[in-house]
């Protein structure tokens, strides 16, 4: 109900990538946006994150045009973990996580007692508390990703948007992140993430949105969406659907 698209078209450099899309994302779910490269899943996410404007149609937040909302208000409701994260110079981990409190602080950015508590809590929760005095530029890739997650969590928003968070990660960090997101979802956060790995999405997420060529194709639970017919239709792939022996969720196995 909270995030929705109404005849929404998005693109850049004059090229339309998401085409007149109608979509309502359910509250309280762990949602994966899936589809082949160039289908517009990241573009749609960027529009919801206010990075790209709507070319036509509207993106709505709580029933009102998202792009007309006051910026500061929305930054307390929607947080974004971008796909690539620059490495800021001379910034400590605790500083970076504290930047997540920006929507709540005054013009000088001074943290209140409560801000300090939340920053510390999020570092604990992401296992980055021990790193707090280190420079962000000294961290390994996996550590840096966790620090950025802590920063985004410190923003304390009911909605969290992630753009391909697992793409550049080792498998152990991928699993760790997906578990973390699952836990956050159980605590009440709505999570919307662009993913590449269909089996990963089916295993951890409870709502899948599948796009192709800028249009919405399928939407629903992994059971409903992950079918041989869908894989054939969207990815032109011959595949069988089996049960994941550990989680009992649907899983696709590609045929030769």
């Amino acid at each position: 109900m909270s995030l929705s698209a109404h005849k929404l078209s998005v693109g850049y450099h004059g090229q339309t990538i998401v085409k007149e899309m109608d979509l309502t994302l359910p509250d309280g779910k762990f949602i994966a946006l899936l589809g082949p490269n160039g289908c517009g899943k990241s573009t749609l996410l960027k529009c919801f994150a206010r990075i790209l404007p709507a070319m036509s149609g509207e993106a709505h937040w709580q029933g009102k045009n998202l792009h007309h909302y006051p910026s500061k208000q929305l930054s307390k409701e929607l947080a974004l973990l971008p796909q690539t994260q620059p490495i800021p110079e001379g910034i400590k981990v605790k500083d970076l996580v504290a930047y997540g409190r920006s929507p709540y602080t005054g013009f000088w950015g001074k943290l209140s007692q409560q801000d300090h508590q939340i920053v510390e809590q999020m570092m604990q929760q992401t296992g980055t508390f021990e790193l707090k005095e280190k420079l962000v530029s000294e961290l390994s890739g996996g550590q840096r990703q966790r620090v950025w997650l802590a920063m985004v969590l410190a923003q304390d928003t009911p909605y969290l948007l992630l753009d391909e968070p697992t793409t550049y990660m080792d498998i152990n960090h991928q699993v760790e992140l997906m578990h973390q997101l699952q836990m956050l979802n159980q605590q009440g956060k709505t999570i919307i993430t662009v993913l590449h790995d269909i089996n990963q999405a089916a295993r951890y997420c409870d709502h899948l949105v599948v796009m192709k060529s800028g249009e919405l194709k399928y939407q629903g639970s992994p059971e409903e969406v992950l079918t041989s017919a869908m894989l054939q239709d969207v990815f032109s792939l011959q595949a069988q659907i089996h049960r994941d022996p550990v989680s009992n969720t649907p899983m696709c196995v590609v045929e030769d």
């Binding site: 990075i51 994260q85 620059p86 110079e89 001379g90 500083d95 920006s102 000088w108």
Partner: protein
């Protein structure tokens, strides 16, 4: 070094350098003579009050202004090698000044600062016009460097083809505090209302370090922020250059050095950078006046002697 330790040390260094600037020069004075010199009855009154004191204030303001501009430009362009020099403001101001002296040779040098200021701002506007509002920071920097080279070659052309009129210009172009006094200080001071405005951007400049996408998500407006920060940097640089000529490398070295000492958060970084810049220019001017008295070297040459190797060292260290 933490910010808490940086500030007392920097302030003490600044005061000591100011005192040394009052004491040493073509004539060396004791602390007591300096103190008495502040009063009209002293034989040293002219040296202290009319000559050395305004020059100290000017060095502090120009040093702080150029350093702050550098920190703003580095914050916006997100590259430690960036500085107001890469925007072509200094060379633009220089070209305007040289044109003025060449083509209006009988005109008074009274208007030189205003002409240089206009030239500096004009150079920034040309850069802005060429790059457009939505251009990337790197495009801005590269175009700026190209334009600065163009302005510099125009200056050289004028200097070589009209050598007679150009002696004054040459003196001004090396960047010096020589012969500047209370009048120049008065002209410069109004521009420093921009400082609180710049400090007020600290919180949002921090967010630019996270990339535009994250900055937007945290409630900042990167395009507006960049425009505002660059406008402040251009205005401050042009104002400083119009009074003292281009003081090279200060806008590069001071913020970079300070970032190493107090970290990248702009709340401590911006005020700390101003202190570093003021100390560096005071030290450069002290050296300029005392190395070979009574001859004065231009302070701009000294900052370049220190700054250029520092810049090279930075370049070589970059991967």
């Amino acid at each position: 070094m933490t910010a808490q330790r940086f500030f007392p040390i920097a302030v003490i260094t600044l005061l000591l350098l100011a005192l040394a600037n009052l004491m040493f020069g073509a004539v060396s004075l004791s602390v007591e003579e300096v103190w008495k010199g502040l009063y009209a009855s002293s034989e040293n009154h002219f040296t202290i009050y009319e000559y050395r004191l305004p020059r100290i204030f000017l060095a502090i303001l120009v040093g702080a202004g150029l350093a702050l501009s550098g920190a703003l430009v580095q914050g916006v362009i997100r590259n430690p090698l960036a500085s107001p020099d890469v925007l072509g403001v200094g060379h633009g101001a220089g070209l305007a000044a040289v044109c003025y002296m060449t083509f209006f040779s009988e005109a008074s040098t009274r208007w030189l600062p205003e002409v240089a200021l206009a030239g500096g701002i004009l150079a920034a506007l040309v850069l802005w016009y060429l790059c457009g509002a939505r251009s990337s920071a790197i495009k801005l920097a590269i175009t700026g460097v190209a334009l600065a080279a163009l302005w510099a070659s125009c200056i050289d052309f004028l200097m070589l083809t009209k050598p007679l009129e150009i002696n004054n210009a040459l003196l001004w172009l090396t960047g010096s505090l020589w012969g500047r006094g209370w009048a120049q200080l008065q002209a410069l001071l109004p521009w420093f209302v921009l400082i609180p405005l710049a400090l007020g951007l600290s919180k949002y400049l921090n967010l630019l370090d996270l990339g535009d996408d994250s900055a937007i998500s945290l409630g900042a407006r990167p395009q507006h922020l960049r425009l505002l920060a660059l406008a402040i940097a251009v205005a401050l640089t042009a104002a400083c250059v119009s009074i003292c000529g281009p003081i090279g490398f200060l806008g590069l070295v001071a913020p970079h050095l300070t970032r190493k000492l107090v970290g990248g958060r702009h709340q401590p970084l911006l005020p700390a950078t101003m202190l570093t810049g003021a100390c560096l220019l005071l030290a450069a001017d002290l050296a300029a006046r005392t190395l070979d008295p009574p001859i004065e070297l231009p302070a701009g040459i000294l900052t370049a002697i220190i700054g250029a190797p520092y810049f090279l060292w930075l370049l070589l260290r970059m991967k």
